[in-house]
Symmetry: C2
Amino acid sequence: MCAKGYGQFCPVSIAAEVLSERWTLLVLRELLAGSTRFNDLHRGVPLMSASLLSQRLRDLELAGLLDRQPLPSGKGKSYRLTEAGEALRPVVDGIGLWGTRYMRTQYAPENLDPSLLMWDMRRWIRGDRMPSGHIVIRFDIPDAPLQKQHYWMVKEDGSDTLDLCLFDPGFPVCLIVTGRLEILTRVWMGNIEAEHAVRSGQLTLDGVPEIRMSFYDWIGLNPFVHLAATQGIDSARRIA
Amino acid sequence: MCAKGYGQFCPVSIAAEVLSERWTLLVLRELLAGSTRFNDLHRGVPLMSASLLSQRLRDLELAGLLDRQPLPSGKGKSYRLTEAGEALRPVVDGIGLWGTRYMRTQYAPENLDPSLLMWDMRRWIRGDRMPSGHIVIRFDIPDAPLQKQHYWMVKEDGSDTLDLCLFDPGFPVCLIVTGRLEILTRVWMGNIEAEHAVRSGQLTLDGVPEIRMSFYDWIGLNPFVHLAATQGIDSARRIA
DNA sequence: CAGTATCCGATGCGATACTG
DNA sequence: CAGTATCGCATCGGATACTG
C-alpha cells in the first residue's frame, strides 16, 4: 500500500521520511562534522556498506539536504550540506545531547570499535595545542583485536590537522598512550576524566614529561560533551 | 552481523537505534501531543498496523521512554512518557519546525487524509473560545472519498474539549465549514490564512453570523505553526 | 475494546563483483 | 580510488485471526 512514506501532512512525518531511514542520521552527523569525501564519510560509518552509503547520499541529495559537486581534481565528488541540511544541526545536536543524557547502552562491547574511536578523536584532537614540530603519538589498545591494537596520530610541523595511520609511519614516537578500549572510549566521551584515568593507572602515558603534561591540553573531548557542558549536564556523573 | 544497532558508541547512534525505527517518531509525536490510550494513539497513525503500534510501544517502554500503566477502569492501559521521553520534545519540535521550513511534499495528495486532519484539528481547536452552549460544527469536504466527506465536532456545554464524530450525532448543526481537502489542510497548517480562504471562496462558512465570526477565533492552527511563528518563520509565505 | 500472535510477502540491505 | 550494479537472504511489517 504505502510504499515508503507515512501518508501524513504533518511536517514531523514528512521530515521523518528522510531522517528516519536507517543510517541516515549517522551520515548526517558525519556531514555536519565536516567530512566531504566519500571515503571519509565511510570511515565514520564503517559498518554501512558502500553501496548503501552511496544510496543514502543520493537520497539526501534528492531531498535537498546535500549538494554533490565533482571535484576539480577530476576524480570523485565533494559532498556538502545545503542550507536545509545545515539547518538540521540543532536537531542532530539535540539528539546527541539527549542520547548522552538518557541512553545507557553506549559502552556495550558491540558498540566499541577502536578504529572508529580513533577516527573520531582524530577529528577533534587539538593539533593546535600540541607542541610544535613533527609529532607522532601512538595509541595502544591491548584488548583490541590484533590488527587494531596500534594507531599513530601524526602532526606535521606547521599543520594543525592530524593524520591517522594504522601502520607505523616510521617516525620516532613522542608519546605512547595505553589503555583498554572501554577506558579510552569513556575518557573520550567525558565519562572519565583524563587526569583521573592516568592517576588511577587505567590510562598510561609514556614519553618525555613535557609531552606527557601537554596531553591533557590537546586530547580534547567528543563535541557532545562540550555541548552537554553548555547545558549543565555532567557526563562524568553518569559513570555506570 | 549487526543484528539491529549501528555498532557505535556515539550518542547520536545510540539514540538513532530507537528513534529512527520506522513510525517511532510519529508515535512519539502522538505521545507528546498528549494521547495516552492505544486507540487514540492509533488514530494519530492510522496507516500503522495495530500490531506494529503495539510492538513500537513495547520498544519505547524497553528503551525507557514510555511508562505503561494498567488503567484503574480495569480494561486497557495508559501510556505516558517518562522523563527521558518527555525530554525529546525539543527534538521532535525541532524536526517539525525543520520540516515546515524546508520540506515541500507536505501537500502531495497521498499525504492528505481527511480523518487524520480532523483528528489533528480536534486536538488543538480552542473549544474554550467557542460560544457557550451545545455547539456542533460540521465540516464538509466535497472532494474526499464518500465515507469521509462529513465530520462533526461536538462541544458539550461546560466542557472545553471536543468530540469528533464520523456520523451525524443528531443535534442541530451551528456551523457548516466547507472546503476542499487541500484547502482545509493548508488553512490548518497556516499556509493559507483562514480569512483569506473565506474571502476568496475557497472555504465556505454557513451558519448564523455570530458563530461564523467566531470561527477565526477558535479554529486555531497546527502547533508547529505557532512554533514557527516564535522562530520568525512565516508559513504563509511558503505557498507553493 | 485493547491489544497480541502468527504467517507470509515485499524490501532493505550486505556481500560481491564490476567500472572509469 | 570513488563509487555503482546485481543478487540473494534476512527482517520488517501488513493482514488476518485470536484472546481477555
